[in-house]
Amino acid sequence: MSQFIDADDLALLASSFEAATADAPGPSEADQALYDLGWAELLASAPGQGAATAFNALGATGSAASLLDDVVVNALGAEAALQSCCVFPAPHKAEAPGHLRGETVMVDGLLSARAETAVAAVLGMGTENGVGLFAVDAGLLHGPAVDGIDPGRAYRRVVVEIPAEALEPTAAEGSWESAVAAARVALAHQLLGGARWMLGEARQHAIDRAQFGRPVAQFQAIRHKLAESLVQIEGAASVAGACLHDPDPMLAALAKSLAGQAARTTATHAQQVLAGIGFTAEHRFHLWLKRMLVVDTLFGSASSIPAEIGHQLLASGQAPRLIQL
């Protein structure tokens, strides 16, 4: 049964999560540190608030921790554990990553760094009766190493074929749809945590950096870029927050899309305000930018989700009244 955590306790959790992820040298150390802090129990008892707090921290610290596996596993009704990982949908998509072709399962999706150490993986596969959930030996998913853009290799693409007989049905009660919704809300918080970090860096730089005899923060062109970023972040954050009380999958999709858009806008504006120094490898900005590009593609992006929702609206010929007073 899920319980509700009060604001003071949440703030405390948030700062301990941030400290733990900021200090961890890599994803597996970060996972371990968060498990030591009670992340798995938190997720089981208060999944919405727990994920929101943890993923905001991941965004704020630029951590490559693999908590998304836990969120999905938990939403599917299983127990999150460091030995378990999950196959995520292919970039910009939300469909289950497995497809059956005769005796072979084609897997086209994404894996987090957790997959390197995990023993078992959960694989969603499209069947005639909706998405089926299967357990598979994580070792079968290992493919050629791909570096990609992600600075900490938090995620990588997996395109492999595995024999159907390697799959074992799981007893998971949760639906793929609810796992997608939970992942989207968590990722929205990560994007927003990252966007707030980028905005904070750009804001401080604008105040500290002087040109033409005054801080560049005095120039209206700079101010309006930062203001626009904050407005998008606050709009998206409100929707992500509303998902805590409303499990509507469309709302979760919108939260992810809006957060992705806010992060894109903020990254563009922050980059411009940081200017030369923000284009260097030395400045940390690019680490957040690249992570944001990756996280944006997970479970549908700010460019793919609007079309997904638009198709639902066109099919029903009306817009549902989301968000109640």
Binding site: A227, L230, P306, L325
Partner: protein, 380 residues
């Protein structure tokens, strides 16, 4: 009364009275027709009791949370029963007049406003004082038993239909900026007031230029303190950006739904149309969610302030994106069609361009966010 019961009872009442409350005109209708129907709906709501909830008993209300007022406007706008702009004036002006007028004055004047028997307007802007409102120069000089006002105002919405006006006047030295401004509640039929309507680009006589020629205003029409008009103006802003925004957000939601229905019926179901619709919808929902948070702060008695500029930027962006999307997805309709639906799209498209001008321009809102929310220090 709890909000959900209220919404249910109100919904049932609106459905029962749908014949009486549905506008008699088709499509956008004339300004006169709009205003007449608006008054009719307000009166029916007031007399049924629903329209009195959320307002203090001292002005003829039945008390209860301001959320109830947000709900009324939402249900009215989802059903397209009355003009949301005229309604705005009540939500913008009445709370502030209640806060600042002497109690006996608001007890006498506010009830007819709430009942739709009267319309009020807002006389702030002047030809030379738009964004820089604190530079206004319409003057009030103290006289025996009150004030004498001389000067002009512009863009005063609804003055043709109004009985009273919340007027900002200069009472300090010309250079006194926001420290020398006073707010008065002025009767429009006072001798010496004249106005010439200005037609808008969407073909309406929404606003007017107003002249004040030795207009006497009795002393008891003072709102707040002498030279304290800026506080009155600042008090209005959060109201302007809470309940009325929730109402307007409902209108945008309904128009979005209309658009989805028309595009769907036209068989335009490709990815490009879907994506454009989804992008427009997500900002409508973002605004609605943000505004919901604001409604609850207001209901909890919190002081709303500069953070409502975020709501303002969100709703204006959502509104303009919605009608630009409509123009794209209903190709040629706004430009070349004289049907009723086309006239509505045209009207709403053109009117959406004002959203980033009235109530503080888009640029002024971003200045506020930068200065007050991001704490970037003064501009150069």
């Amino acid at each position: 009364m709890d909000p959900e019961t209220f919404r249910r009872d109100l919904g049932a009442w609106l459905d029962d009275n749908a014949n009486d409350l549905t506008p008699p005109y088709e499509g956008i209708g004339s300004m006169d027709a709009h205003m007449a129907h608006y008054s009719h709906v307000k009166r029916a709501l007031f007399d049924s009791g629903f329209g009195r909830y959320g307002w203090p008993e001292s002005v003829g209300g039945l008390g209860g949370s301001p959320l109830l007022r947000a709900i009324i406007g939402e249900e009215i706008n989802f059903r397209d029963l009355a003009d949301p702009n005229a309604w705005t004036m009540i939500e913008v002006l009445a709370p502030t007049v209640i806060d600042f007028a002497p109690p006996e004055l608001s007890a006498r004047l506010v009830p007819p406003f709430l009942r739709g028997d009267e319309m009020w307007c807002q006389g702030f802007s002047e030809t030379d004082a738009g964004s820089d409102l604190a530079s206004l120069s319409c003057r009030a000089a103290e006289t025996d038993g009150g004030w004498v006002v001389n000067g002009q105002k512009i863009w005063t919405s609804f003055i043709e239909y109004s009985q009273r006006c919340v007027l900002l006047v200069r009472t300090g030295e010309p250079e006194s900026a926001h420290r020398g401004i006073t707010a008065l509640l002025v009767d429009i039929d006072s001798p010496g007031i004249g106005y010439s309507p200005i037609e808008t680009m969407h073909g309406r006589r929404d606003f007017a230029e107003v002249h004040f020629d030795d207009v006497f205003v009795p002393a008891d029409r003072l709102l707040g303190e002498v030279n304290g008009g800026w506080q009155v103006a600042m008090d209005i802003l959060p109201y302007e950006r809470s309940t009325t925004f929730w109402h307007r957000g409902a209108l945008l939601h309904r128009r979005f739904s209309d658009l989805a229905a028309q595009v769907s019926a036209a068989g335009n179901r490709g990815d490009a149309a879907a994506k454009a619709l989804g992008q427009a919808f997500q900002w409508i929902v973002a605004f609605r969610s943000r505004s919901r948070d604001t409604q609850h702060q207001l209901a909890a008695g919190e002081q709303l302030g500069v953070e409502t500029s975020v709501d303002k930027i969100l709703i204006t962006s959502a509104e303009q994106q919605l009608f630009e999307t409509a123009r794209d997805l209903l190709p040629g309709v706004m430009e070349f069609d004289d049907g009723l639906a086309a006239a509505s799209w045209r009207n709403d498209y053109l009117y959406s361009k004002a959203a980033t001008i009235y109530g503080g321009t888009a640029e002024i809102q971003r200045n506020i966010v930068a200065r007050r929310l991001l704490d970037l220090g003064p501009e150069s």
